[in-house]
Symmetry: D3
Subunit: 136 residues, 6 copies
């Protein structure tokens, strides 16, 4: 890989890493680690732009941001691993399992029943993981 042009550890990176840990916990850190040997700069961008820039913005609270991501990833239907990370994220920032299930169900209206079904089965896996780890 080439060196990244004038890219140094920054307030954006620090802020992003804190936010990533707050939202996605261990699942987020595993994604960063998995990128280390293939695209380490992409891991940097992932911390900096989505988490350091976007999630850190005032204007919309973190809880609202996270339920929107669950809705969008359920509707898109082509990013199952990321949907699971953000179902964890939504629960981590204070949504209940019932609320997450409700949002996924609602996507049947906007993206069809298969998208909602696949979202519900992703939620089922996440809930089982959290039961094992004794998380809400």
């Amino acid at each position: 890989m080439h060196p990244l042009p004038d890219h140094t550890p920054s307030a954006r990176y620090e802020r992003g890493l804190d936010k990533l840990r707050e939202i996605d916990g261990a699942a987020g850190e595993r994604v960063i680690a998995a990128l280390a040997d293939i695209a380490p700069d992409f891991a940097t961008y992932l911390v900096e732009f989505p988490f350091g820039d976007v999630y850190s913005r005032p204007g919309l609270d973190l809880k609202a941001r996270e339920i929107g991501v669950v809705a969008a990833l359920t509707a898109l239907g082509n990013a199952a691993p990321q949907l699971k990370v953000h179902i964890h994220g939504a629960l981590n920032v204070g949504w209940s399992r019932t609320e997450v299930v409700e949002m996924i169900m609602q996507m049947a209206v906007y993206a069809g029943f298969p998208a909602a079904l696949n979202g519900l089965f992703a939620a089922k896996e996440v809930f089982a993981e959290r039961d094992t780890a004794d998380l809400p």
Copy 2:
């Protein structure tokens, strides 16, 4: 069109119509009216299932449901008229313009910058419509 099998005015329909008016206001009623000559039964389903069944559920409040729909329709990027209806809807149920803009911006992370850009331009049109009508 054929008659709908054993389909009578119902609590679902009444509840759905109230909910449709609460969320989408005049924009929702225009959709219903536009279906009258092509697929009147579909207008009935639209009132009954999304609004009478799904939006009327407890377990997730209406405000959260509506911001999730804005997120999902922005991300899907293939339903511009419905996105505009639900940007109105999100504002109608209590989100501020800033909050709606923040959610749309965030979709750049999950569905790409073009999806977010097109969502922002839809919001711009909606805000102009509401300025004319003196709505928040």
Copy 3:
């Protein structure tokens, strides 16, 4: 989970369950069962709206409805489990394996060769399941 508002066993549900069994057979019932612990109300909606309302409508026969679903799910390409259920469904309501393969192949034109290839490999799995079960 919260109780569903004024939702009682209904003609829609009964009619939907009959239709679900006619089209999807055991595969459909497995989906319903898999929802029992995560979103039982969604199982109810799945029986009522797609099967009790839509598939039960006059105006288009069941065979035509089912080949359209195979076409659409192949083209969408993000709902592999549901595509397999509906390939079973298309065969259950009277299409031949050749006809199903033809429809999937045709999706190369509308959604690209990868979508068609993935649809054909889904069909291959379904045909193998049916050979084992001695189904046409």
Copy 4:
């Protein structure tokens, strides 16, 4: 543009042009004409592969092929002009307006209500065009 390598008028082209006219009528020929100055070889491929190869195959009749295309294009939701051409096509090969409307409505289940709504409004435009031309 470069000349197409060893590509000569062929049975595939002749067969495809007949099929294109049978299915899409004037709308199909307008697409071919619109490609003449930008990508004439693409017009050739469009006649040869979808129409000369795929639609001309035995194994699934033309009527079934065409209703599947209406289903798929409604579900994909990103090809409005082509959906309109194929709603014409479905009517041209023998489906009734009611049947076409039913198939589009059904896509609400598989791709969401916005996709179905946009499909119904496309159908409405097509039906108006055909009323003017005194077509069924």
Copy 5:
């Protein structure tokens, strides 16, 4: 709008603006201007992340980056304005009209004929705009 947290003019922004002008020319600057009243921070991000970070990276030359974007936006099929901007961009960085047309045609294989057709018609509009402006 809220102030952006610790966000100051930066090397990323300067580098991004240069790159944006090099690739997209006036079309890129119009997008930035159009965001000024609805989401000015998003204009900043658009300059900084895609152009200041990604396009400015070594490891893949700008010409290759730009033809890939034309391919991707044609295939996605839900971002017509951005596709037009990047067809301009591809021509601006040295691809010929024939090469751009070839890449768009090829997307018929991966995303279907409708996506390719809509891409070709976008190219036709761009070429006409450039003819007027006496651009290659």
Copy 6:
């Protein structure tokens, strides 16, 4: 399966098979073989149209064609097996691993971070396969 109408071995097929082997190597031939029992005619079309017609065209060199396909399949996000085949393909026709990674990373801008992440993990698998086979 039915016989294909007047379809004989042709220059298109021979040319396509050569091109398929040049681009996709063993991975391409495995796809052809996997179609033999379910849709042998589709294997023929796959050789003839994408490889015999499109990839064989002058006007855009093979290297450019292949990086565009990697971009498009990453962005579409619903064709993981084909993306892997074409990451192999891009490396086979002369792109470096770094260049392929750069193109995939760039898709974060156009299709979102989840699409890019899933593309990077596909690349990681391909690179491991090639390490085992001692390929660049």
